[in-house]
C-alpha cells in the first residue's frame, strides 16, 4: 500500500465534473484506491463518494492505493490533480 499527500489546486475543488474525471480514471486501475480527507475515507472509484468529501481548493487530501498497479494509479491521479482536471489553463 502506498500513500501520497495531494493539495487541491484547481479553483472549484472536487466538484461534480472533476469528481467524474477522477472516478473514471480510478476505475481504469485494478488497485483499491481511496481518498482520505479530514476523518472521511472514500473509494476513489465512486463518484458520489468523492462528492461527499466536499473538498475545495487549498485542501490537502491523501491518496491511498493498494494492488498490483498502485504506483501507476497514484502517479496518474496525482497528475490529474496537478493538471487542474484539465479545466483551467
Amino acid at each position: 500500500m502506498i500513500e501520497k499527500t495531494q493539495i487541491i489546486i484547481n479553483k472549484l475543488g472536487l466538484h461534480a465534473r472533476a469528481a467524474a474525471k477522477l472516478s473514471h480514471l480510478a476505475n481504469m486501475f485494478n488497485a483499491n484506491i481511496f481518498l482520505i480527507y479530514n476523518e472521511d475515507k472514500v473509494n476513489a472509484k465512486s463518484l458520489l463518494g468523492i462528492l461527499t468529501l466536499a473538498a475545495s481548493v487549498g485542501n490537502e487530501i491523501i491518496l491511498q492505493a493498494s494492488g498490483d498497479d498502485e504506483q501507476e494509479a497514484i502517479t496518474a491521479i496525482s497528475d490529474l490533480f496537478n493538471r487542474k482536471f484539465d479545466e483551467e489553463s
Binding site: 463518484l47 458520489l48 463518494g49 461527499t52 466536499a54
Partner: protein
C-alpha cells in the same frame, strides 16, 4: 472509519434541533459544551445531594423543580441554587414556559450557565433532546453500499465498484421500494440500540447510474421512493460468480457482517449473466422474513424428523 464526538455547544443543539425555545437568558454562555448524550433532571440535586449531578449534562427543570424551589424559604432557596449552580453546568432548560425569578438568572449568569425557556412539556423535551444527542454522540461509520427499504426491512447492498449495486437498486426502486442512500451509507447507533443508516446530506436522494449519470430519485420517482433513514436488518453482498467457489446450496449457512460491534445477517449472492438480481434479492428478503417469523427451513425440519418424508407442499412451521 468510526468517529467519536467529544462535545456539542448548546448553540449548535439549538440550530440543529428546534426545541421550541421562547426565551434565552445569559446568551453569552451558549457556547458551553454538553459532553453527555443524556439530559438530566436535577431531582435531589436541589436538596444539596450533588453526588450524581454530572457536569457535562444539560439540565432540565420542570414543574417539580421550579415548584420545589418556590416552596423554599428565601435563604434556603438562594443557598441551594448557589450550591447546585456552583457545578458549572453547561445549561438549564426550563419546560412549559414556567416563569422563574429574575435573581435566579443573575445567579446563573454568575456561574456562566445559560437558562433557556421552552414551550415543550418536560417529557417530550427530554425525549427530543435524548434522540438528537444520541444520534450526535453515537459512534458513526461510513460504509460503501446502497441502503434500501425492501418490504419494511433495511437492506444494504454491498460489493466491489462496478458489480451493479446501483443498477439493482434502481430496479428495486422501480418496483416500488425505497432508497435511503446510494454508494455511501452512514451508520449510527440510536438510543434503542438499533443500527440506523442514512445518506450523507450532500448526496441525499442521488444515485449514479453509468450511462445516465447522476439522477435524483426524489425528482424522478417522487416522495414515496425515498426514505430519510432506516434500521439495518440485512446485508446482501454481491460478488462475481466464481465457478470454483462454494455457494450456499441448502440455505443452512448463517453469516454475519459486523458493524459498530453489532452482528447483521449477511447473504452473499453471486452475480452472473442471466440471474435476475432484483428478484433474487426480493426473495432473499422474503426468506429472511419467513425465517425470522419462525418458519423452519427444509433442512431444519429434516434434522428434527430424519425418517419422516417431509411434505413441503404445506406450511412448514
Amino acid at each position: 472509519m468510526a468517529i467519536e464526538i467529544k462535545g456539542i455547544q448548546i448553540r449548535q443543539i439549538l440550530e440543529l434541533n428546534p426545541l421550541k425555545i421562547l426565551k434565552i437568558h445569559n446568551e453569552k454562555w451558549l457556547s458551553n459544551t454538553v459532553s453527555h448524550p443524556r439530559p438530566q433532571r436535577p431531582g435531589l440535586g436541589l436538596t444539596g445531594y450533588l453526588k450524581h449531578i454530572q457536569t457535562g449534562r444539560i439540565q432540565i427543570f420542570g414543574k417539580t423543580e421550579i415548584g420545589y424551589l418556590l416552596n423554599l424559604k428565601e435563604v434556603d432557596k438562594i443557598k441551594c441554587l448557589k450550591n447546585y449552580l456552583s457545578l458549572k453546568l453547561p445549561g438549564i432548560i426550563i419546560s412549559e414556559n414556567i416563569p422563574i425569578e429574575p435573581e435566579w438568572i443573575a445567579m446563573a449568569a454568575h456561574s456562566h450557565t445559560p437558562i433557556l425557556v421552552s414551550e415543550l412539556h418536560t417529557a417530550p423535551l427530554i425525549s427530543r433532546l435524548n434522540a438528537f444527542l444520541y444520534q450526535y454522540f453515537s459512534k458513526k461509520i461510513k460504509l460503501n453500499g446502497v441502503l434500501m427499504d425492501i418490504m419494511g426491512q433495511g437492506v444494504m447492498l454491498t460489493g466491489v465498484s462496478g458489480i451493479g449495486k446501483s443498477e439493482t437498486a434502481l430496479e428495486l426502486v422501480n418496483k416500488g421500494y425505497q432508497l435511503i442512500a446510494d454508494d455511501i451509507t452512514e451508520f449510527y447507533i440510536d438510543f434503542n440500540d438499533d443500527l440506523v443508516g442514512r445518506s450523507n446530506p450532500i448526496i441525499k436522494n442521488l444515485m449514479e447510474v453509468r450511462g445516465l449519470g447522476i439522477i435524483n430519485i426524489y425528482d424522478i420517482f417522487g416522495a414515496s421512493a425515498v426514505l430519510e433513514e432506516k434500521k439495518l436488518n440485512l446485508v446482501i453482498n454481491l460478488e462475481k460468480w466464481e465457478a470454483k467457489k462454494k455457494y450456499d446450496r441448502l440455505g443452512e449457512d448463517n453469516f454475519y457482517f459486523k458493524i459498530l460491534g453489532m452482528d447483521i445477517p449477511l447473504i452473499t449472492l453471486p452475480v452472473a449473466p442471466g440471474r435476475n438480481l432484483c428478484t433474487i434479492i426480493e426473495v432473499a428478503v422474503r426468506n429472511f422474513l419467513a425465517k425470522k417469523s419462525g418458519i423452519k427451513t427444509y433442512l431444519e425440519k429434516k434434522k428434527e424428523n430424519p425418517d419422516e418424508n417431509i411434505d413441503l407442499s404445506h406450511g412448514s412451521r
